[in-house]
Symmetry: C2
Subunit: 142 residues, 2 copies
């Protein structure tokens, strides 16, 4: 079901400072910056690697306010890894298969993620404490 580790989502207090750190410390490059009001985050995708099944990224997430999910995460646990995103071929089909196994979903239907992807989150309580995201990359038009 999983095609790749699509990204690791990292909660940070200041997006631009964290971007500057990952660029200078590890030589990563920002390929996308977005504000996702629905998720309450300002975010950036930093490219790590390409592969046949799709690229891998570090996703840096700055909360838009203290009452957002990422804002609450940082207040409780500090900055750090927030979630893991796995590439799947078809997120709607994957959700159906996963729900049929008795795993609770946060999103019963795919929603809009970074860089045009369709995404959905699974409930961390049913995935050993790991907030787990499914990512279906947009179809390439070229």
């Amino acid at each position: 079901m999983f095609l790749r580790i699509d990204h690791v989502g990292i909660a940070c207090r200041n997006l631009e400072e964290s971007i500057a750190f990952y660029e200078s410390a590890f030589g990563l490059t920002v390929v996308s910056r977005e504000v996702n009001e629905e998720q309450g985050v300002r975010e950036a995708m930093l490219h790590v690697a390409d592969a046949e099944a799709g690229a891998s990224y570090i996703q840096l997430l700055e909360p838009l306010g203290p009452d957002t999910p990422v804002g609450k995460f940082i207040a409780k646990r500090g900055e750090g890894v927030h979630h893991v995103g796995y590439g799947v071929a078809d997120v709607a089909k994957a959700l159906e298969e996963i729900e049929a196994k008795g795993i609770r979903l946060i999103d019963r239907r795919p929603r809009h993620g970074s860089m045009g992807a369709s995404i959905a989150f699974l409930h961390p309580k049913d995935v050993g404490g790991v907030l787990t995201e499914l990512v279906e990359a947009p179809r390439r038009t070229t």
Copy 2:
């Protein structure tokens, strides 16, 4: 410097139960089981994807006791993502470059990691709360 996301390390209370979950829920396959006394863990690598720069894995980590680093992590934060491992070409050279940038290292010299890799950890306080591991895969002999 980073060639790929080599693995996401996940702390769990019961390795065999977590393996069974990842296998049945997401169709991953165990490719290695090891006990690392030095790190105080019983662990398994589950294969996610292959790529030219090297494969990606989920690493499940069960502490050998409550006084180990992973045991303390679980006592404090519960099960969940413990660290992120990135592939590098030369871990000793990467450590030198990273230390020269003023980032604190946990390991000043590479040590033994999963499946024959040379690994080293960076200090999470200098990497935005993320325990970060460098992984140099063993040379292929075939």
